[in-house]
């Protein structure tokens, strides 16, 4: 095995010396690696000579000596700037590199993580719950009894056994309030489903909701939280407007508008000329909801807010159409990388 091993060392030396070309610093590097006194390759091979059986020593020693001589001659030539005629290889540095395939993360995942990060920093935990729900958690506990008009706007996919596909992530709020210890600070992202499909609606989409329940939670807390959220997610220069509205599970309720990120409030097609875009729904948790979860509204109060992750992705990345998100088109999916904004 010894002779081939020395051959390999010689081949390696040739290759490195060739690569070093006429650059003295690099030739010196090659010298140190192979002929260095303390830890050069030749030194190592000499060490190995000592451990060989007596009968193998002469052959190995001869071959090693030849190698040493070869290496020192070639190093000397290289230092003098002469050497065997070498083909000049033209390296075209403009050729595309051999790229490893890089993974990419879905834009909805990117905005979800970004939102989660904002709230994790504010002490919120990220919760999840089932996508297949029952009527109690999806509607009744949220102050939406059977035949309530609010069910009109949440066209529901029904499943056998009285089950349904959750129409919002709010049932996770109920599950959390039913089972977790107060005070609560949660962020709840997830898939939701509504029986609706057109340019602006997909039968499956994503929401993220926030829930804070504790003693002394106020409307002022809600306002500040929403502002912090919008400012970190989009832009600290954006104005945040709370407009009174109605949701069965919050009282008072608000729709949250932000300055249109396209026209900066001047009015454009995206904001229908108003200068504002609706981005969130929010409010103080309705005492009826707290009571449904056996929480005493005399002692505790809370706020909740929610928004569509897909819509945020649309706004953030300037996407033309919601359905692109679920198209599985790799030309689209690979545009966003795997890190998102940091």
């Amino acid at each position: 095995m010894t002779a081939p091993q020395l051959q390999a060392v010689r081949a390696e030396f040739d290759a490195e010396l060739a690569a070093a070309g006429r650059d003295p610093a690099r030739v010196e590097e090659v010298r140190i690696r192979f002929a260095g006194r303390r830890s050069g390759v030749l030194r190592e091979l000499e060490e190995r000579l000592k451990g060989l059986p007596r009968e193998e020593k002469p052959a190995y020693g001869k071959a090693l000596n030849e190698l040493k001589q070869y290496i020192s001659e070639r190093l000397e030539q290289a230092r003098r700037g002469v050497g065997p005629a070498r083909e000049e290889i033209f390296l075209d540095v403009t050729l595309p590199g051999r790229a490893p395939r890089l993974g990419s993360v879905h834009p909805v995942t990117l905005v979800r993580r970004e939102i989660e990060e904002i709230f994790l920093r504010m002490g919120y935990s990220v919760a999840d719950g089932p996508e297949v729900e029952d009527d109690w958690h999806n509607f009744e506990a949220l102050n939406i009894p059977p035949f309530h008009p609010a069910r009109d706007t949440q066209d529901t996919f029904y499943l056998p056994g009285g089950l349904l596909l959750r129409t919002h992530t709010s049932p996770v709020q109920i599950r959390a309030m039913e089972t977790m210890e107060l005070p609560l600070r949660l962020i709840i992202p997830g898939r939701v489903y509504r029986r609706d499909s057109d340019l602006r609606h997909s039968p499956m989409f994503h929401q993220v909701e926030g829930l804070v329940v504790g003693e002394g939670i106020t409307f002022a807390h809600l306002r500040a939280t929403l502002e912090a959220f919008v400012h970190v997610l989009f832009d600290p220069a954006l104005k945040v407007r709370l407009r009174p509205s109605f949701f069965p599970f919050t009282e008072p309720s608000a729709e949250v508008d932000i300055t249109c990120i396209l026209c900066r409030g001047q009015g454009c097609a995206m904001c229908s000329g108003s200068g504002w875009i609706e981005i969130l729904g929010a409010g103080m948790v309705d005492p009826r909801v707290l009571r449904a979860c056996r929480i005493d509204p005399q002692r505790y109060s809370g706020f909740a807010f929610g928004c569509g992750l897909d819509r945020v992705a649309l706004l953030k990345y300037g996407l033309p159409d919601l359905r692109l998100l679920f198209s599985g088109d790799e030309r689209f999916l690979r545009q966003f990388g795997s890190e998102g904004a940091l």
């Binding site: 451990g51 051999r98 790229a99 395939r101 890089l102 993974g103 990419s104 993360v105 995942t109 709230f119 994790l120 504010m122 002490g123 919120y124 935990s125 990220v126 999840d128 719950g129 996508e131 035949f147 008009p149 609010a150 996919f157 029904y158 499943l159 056998p160 056994g161 596909l165 962020i187 489903y193 029986r195 499909s197 039968p203 499956m204 804070v212 002394g216 409307f219 002022a220 807390h221 306002r223 500040a224 939280t225 407007r241 407009r243 009174p244 509205s245 109605f246 009282e251 008072p252 608000a254 103080m284 005492p287 009826r288 109060s301 679920f326 599985g328 088109d329 790799e330 030309r331 999916l333």
Partner: protein
Amino acid sequence: MRFLLSWLREHLSECRLEAAELAARLTAVGFNVELREPADGEGKPGDEVWEVDVTTNRPDAMNHRGLAREAAAVGAGELRPLDLSVTEEGTAAGELARVRVEDGEGCPRYCARVVRGVRVGPSPAWLAARLSACGVRPINNVVDATNYVLLDLGQPLHAFDLDLLEGREVRVRAARPGETLRTLDGVERVLEAGDVVIADARRPVALAGIMGGAETEITASTRDVLLESATFHPLRVRRTAHRLGLKTEASHRFERGADRAMARTAVDACAALISRIAGGEVAPGMLDSAPQPPAPAVIAFSLQRLNAFAGCQVPPEFVIPLLTRLELAPRRDGDLVSCTVPTFRTDLELPEDLYEEVLRHWGYERVPAVLPAADRGPGRRLGSWPLVERARRALAAVGVAEAITYSFTDPGLEAATASSPLAGRGDPVPLLNPLSARSSVLRRSLLAGLVEAAAGNLRRGAGAVLLGEVGRAFFGTPGGVREEERAAVVLAGEVGSWDGRRNADFLDLKGLVEGFLSGLGLPPARWRPGSCALLESGQGAEVMLGGRVIAVAGRLAEAIGERLDIAQPLWVAEVDLAAVAGEGTATFRPLPRFPAVVADLTVRHRVDLTYDQLVGALMAAAPEWLEGVAPVVQYRGEGVAAGEVKTTLRLTYRHGERSLSQEEVNAAHFAAMERLAAELGVRFD
């Protein structure tokens, strides 16, 4: 809902605000003026039509009077008192018609008036124009009058031709199952027990709170009119409207709660209007099933609690006048304020409802922004989030593009992709009301959506596809629906870079899956041949860890590819994330202190001797300081007999405690070769 600005202003004694300012202030208190358009037709110059989003909890503002009340509260002027005078003449109404409410739950109050001797014809232009501006088509003066009062005061009314009411009487009762009624739209409706109907002595003549009947409607020959103005039970109206798929202006309002006091006011206003525009005389007297109003609800709240709830000080000097303008009759006793809820505010029940009244008028933007103090430790990811997030990162790390595909799919594709050991854990879960047959069942395998997405990319001409998803699969079980976290990938087309491309094959897929599992922190898994209908026969594997199948991988069955019009191979894998949830925390292994000795070994063996068998035998034959074995190359063809293959392996010998000498490595190496030859019948060249 559409509003006419001039009509709104008519309810205000003086209008102090410009249109734009009024619209802005109404929006700020929760009545979003979404659109302002110039009113055309008979309107005054500068008049506008507004589209206002009135939230479902505020049926009282779904009319001009109601919105004018809010306008007054935001400083637009004083709400003008209603003119409730009616000139009555002739025979008393009680002698002309009778009203009986037999279903008191379904109809808490029924008011009626009789107008005799009307001349049915077109409405005056001003009235027709107002209706048109609000999107209501004029029909005739009597019907138009009822619609006008609806838009004006919010009370749905109905006009019957009194002569067509059998026995000249009205009975409000529960429908008898199977009874039929032809509604104004000409449709024959079959009624059920929960429905509330207006009937005469013989038959139903109207669907209470939803739509009148065709047989008693106002026609050109109508002389005497019975005007109905009632309140109906919201839930029962809604159930019937829902079942029949009938949504009308009336049902929309009754479902949200009508004002019982307005029933009486509106019928007076409507009777007066009819006699004005259609002639006829209003018979003296009102037929009223429940003239005694119930005791009004009182809500008391503490000003201090209001401030604590808001997180700021809202002075009583603001609160009390505001509540007065909203007609809530506040009485203050120190810190306590009691409000009497007017009948039109069906949405007010709790102190929080009044906090909302105060805050929306105080202005949400005047509440300071104060972040809540930290009351918990740092947040963390709960439930399955840590697992699925790790899986997403591990997928990206092996080059996969994350896709999100629908959770529901086509039943045929669902069944085909669910035919694997991973997906056979329960029944498919059908949607009872799918949007289409192609999305009518929940997926038991993430591959349902992914292979479809991959096929789409290939059809668009993609040369290489590598898609993955992390999400849930759904299994119907006797106890309900079980959700399992899954990850899946699909690989197709070419791999490699521009100067070295080839078609992806099984080992590319296996490498991806191994990389993914290792990214999850798992120890190496065992791969064994697996056959299931998901995968092409002889080209599939099951991935085992801890005695469990944690993944399946292989070439998608051609039959499934054909379903998607894809002939080229699709390499697919699915991983049960729940099965790997508990596994894998990286631990430190000390770095080797002694050098390794590397030796190559070329083995000639039968093709059906697997790599696992070969390496297993080698590891068993070699000393324990054989650190590892890796393949270098496999060769079949010239120089190698048919049915045989040459595999070159690189063996790494390293002892943990000392340097190895060349002799002892050689000795062990040759001894292992001999044992392999004896045990497996392999040869070495």
